[in-house]
Symmetry: D5
Subunit: 147 residues, 10 copies
């Protein structure tokens, strides 16, 4: 049975062979590059029609579209990520976690920022002192119930 | 010897007693609320003059200013954070970590977003479907050396 | 500075000395016993007026009401709980976790049950083969964004 | 030798190909959807006749019925689950674990809720503020021996 | 507030000062030595009258009886015990765990031996090749529900 | 090269196909069911003649007898077992570990119960309030050297 | 799809068969031996032309050059390395970590040594008391932002 | 009894009060700043005369000299360091560990670089593109025995 | 109540103040230095008369003798030791563990070397190429039961 | 490409088929049984001529000799070993680790016993109270540098 990781491997292969970018793959189905990349990596499910369009665009077999639209079980392997590019975000959560909490709650009361009703973007901003990466996360403010 | 956690406790006490906000504490010394909060929590060092201003504003003893300006050893207790408000960010790094890496490297070549030459903001955005929290992170794009 | 765990200790002391129950403590402020117990244990914040009522009812100092209304940093000590009564719930999550996910998603699409917009009850149900404990959890269905 | 995970894979394949639901698979053998799903995922054993009925309904080979009726060794991979839908239940156990214990023991004396003489349901409840997921767990009250 | 570990310390002190044995402490209140020792170590609750008798026998303050009768939160520090006398039992569970499961289920169907409706004894058996320790554990056979 | 886990798989297959019990497999070679089960699971070595008898009785190839008689490297996968039937024994060690130590040392001086010069039995005892499982462990009392 | 670990295996095979050294492999493409070795082990990406030269020199298939130039996900298996040659460096970081921090910050202000804009060399230095290994690490001094 | 961490605290206090640097403290006793800093942090033992000189220079009580000359038990708290300045070195060991091993063994045969017969320096090197930190480690080449 | 770690601290204090050696402390009570050191560190119990002699020799209070003769709960803090002198032994067990097992079982049948009926010595052996430390461990050969 | 674990498997197969002992395999190439066993298990490298002799003696293919002479990456799987025969050594390190350190440093100054310039033997010593296993470890005394 074809799995999400089988489909991820197929996509990587098409991407290498065709010299494609995530930006192009996402633009071709009219969705954001963060969301499409995460779905291609097996961490989100694409809407049915988008999954079919992506499979068609990349020349994947039809079953791949079914798989891309299935709900994933999100699984990440290491408690502390080892790749430096990913670790830096882990470190930011460690160093600024309590700060994020203090400010979210100061602005929004006892609650959290949702990681489900959530979207994110990644951009490269030109800067004379060296370009910067800007990551913008947006999640719904969820208030704790009291009952 | 007065430590960073002693000073954090003093600040929390003044903040509770005076009904203060991080926003106000930060504005009073002309710095951002994320940075000032993190420094008050012992995760960053304030510039000397800012530390003195903050200590004066809150009525802390002079040694507290020295301590706020000292370079901290950043230490976070749990490998996986337990507070839901902080955990959600850990989860985002787990679920979207490889996606962040793919896009940073697609846009910037083999490298990372710095967590040192870095700044961050937290805002509450009004939204008819429920207000949202927006976290914006910006870090310098650092390229891996080849030698 | 008085902390949440100081207040928890005061409440346990009053409870032991007065032979009180959580049910009575909660009923006296007109809230559910699950929520009030969790707030007394430092895992939730009481609304201001409820905190004041609870402090008054138990004869706690006024600062205790302030503390009960503050937003807690939820912290649990052991990755795998050791007390058998708590462990059994951990085991249920381990054994039935994927089942819960399959059914929540079959009924609600790709998403989760919120643990924030959430309430819970615990009841003892008489049963001729031996009484049973019924735990009912209710959380808002949150759908993953696609963007 | 055919294993429980072989059978789980067969069932997923039949389910995808036939567009089946867990609700239908369970109803067809006259058992609850939580229990049948967990048995299909290898976490519980079906009674012999139910196993045979399920295998026949799905067109599985006869050995699959034998396997579905065998007693499983329940094994869950990660100490802290990573999928958000499952993690939220882990978080609830962490945040409310001591509360559950306090109330179970207040209502039932020194003891626990059984996770063996246990049943559970998952329902979607319509709600004008957004539908809710209700999980109901029921386990026999077991008293600690004193001897 | 007096805690279970305070009472354990008092009991150890009385035991050292009086040259007492667990066997004698248990016999004096007419209960088994395993159960009484575990209650003195804070891992079980004594029935009210037994707690009072034990406190009186050892000359502990009355609050100690209250504490001994309270329901404990069982907590053990290390995932893998380090003391050799305790480790050997951990090792037995590791080496023979699957064997215990196979035989319990062969004799009793899909289910477990209860650790709650449970009792245990420890004896020294004279043996010409060297005396032996015999540990006998007895727990109610609990069958998994199917529903 | 045939390994212990290959032989375990063969035995499980013969056992399923023939509807055999561990009790019968053990009785046929005149050894206890605990020991024989553990040896079939790769956790103990059978005496040469017993290994040959078992292989012959089950119709295993001759090399299987060699493998059953080889000394195993005992390996158990998870620090904390997840199967409920096995976990309960882990929990008993956690809750009663210090109690076991106190009583073994009270009866036998500074030392331990051996897990090597060791035997164990598992029985189902009829009981009007519900049958019980009795596990009896017996190990040589080993005294710590002083030198 | 050819992976970095496939290419590493090819290189090890060529290296064994040809009796090659890392020094020679690196010299042949005009880069340092530390960087080239790390790239061959899948921990860094070679510039396109260097990857092609290396593949040609070793007789690897053209796809190997593509793979050597792709950006790696750096992954290291064990939290604490077990090989003694690698462990000693881990130990140095543990023993001297705080010392390194004190001195880097004394010389450079609040900041760190970059591990990205970074290079390293390994040399054997003749010494009458026994030759020495000298490892020289050089990273850009990065200052923490304040904002 | 005065401990190494007591002495470390005294030194930090003197250093803060006197505005001292590690460079000056080390120079005053004629030893390297890395070694002296590590000894002040309790990770190495100073020669007797150096310990006495350092204690005299800083105005520490005589027992502090005794403590500084005692052999430390090196203990580091976290398996993975959290402070970014220290973590980067951990990351370097993770990313380049196998590379270090390949090159040390290529240059020196089967063996390691000693972390005991070892010295280290930390320098800031001016650089037009941004100053750099250079860490130089030197350890005796130790060959594995064969016997 | 005086504990083993209180007594260890007293002994360290006497040892520092009197410039004593473990060799002398052990010789004065006619036992080996390994065993006496381990007992002073709280890892073994001294025979009553030896405990009294040691307490008298060092000028400890009488209760210290009682404590030294009590049976310790052996507890070691870190799963992987950090001090290099101790770590090397951990490493030897890791690297040579399977080798030790192969040879013990080749020489003694299926069984182990006891760590309870056990003694050990540590010596410095002069050697022209550099003195050596020799550690000799001796434990009773224990055969696994078969039953 | 043939790996060390391939060669280990070949040697185990030859050893089982030929009824060989490690003692004989080692004697045939004139080296110690500890060292040869560890090299056959992939934890040490044999000198070239010894590797060739061993391969010839056992009838292994020539590439096996190359592999036996290659420098291994020593890797051990579990932080805490599970096999009882190996665990006992881990336990000895835990229980006696600080004792070993105290005595090595009392005899040799601040330093360690090398695990690299190291040799070991394992012997069975006849003893009327039960034979004993004696393990003798010898490592060069390495003094910490001060610089």
């Amino acid at each position: 049975m074809m799995t999400k990781s089988d489909v991820t491997a197929m996509i990587y292969e098409k991407k290498r062979a065709g010299g494609l970018t995530w930006a192009a793959i996402a633009a071709d189905i009219g969705m954001s590059e963060v969301f499409v990349t995460s779905a291609c990596l097996g961490m989100n499910s694409l809407p049915k029609d988008k999954a079919e369009a992506l499979a068609a665009n990349l020349g994947l077999p039809p079953e791949a579209a079914t798989v891309l639209a299935e709900y994933p079980t999100k699984s990440f392997d290491r408690t502390v990520p080892t790749d430096p590019c990913i670790y830096r975000f882990y470190e930011i959560v460690g160093v600024y976690g309590q700060t994020l909490k203090e400010l979210i709650q100061e602005k929004g009361g006892d609650g959290i920022m949702s990681a489900i009703d959530f979207d994110m973007s990644v951009d490269r901003l030109p800067n004379p002192k060296g370009d910067r990466i800007e990551v913008r996360m947006s999640g719904k403010l969820l208030a704790y119930s009291a009952w």
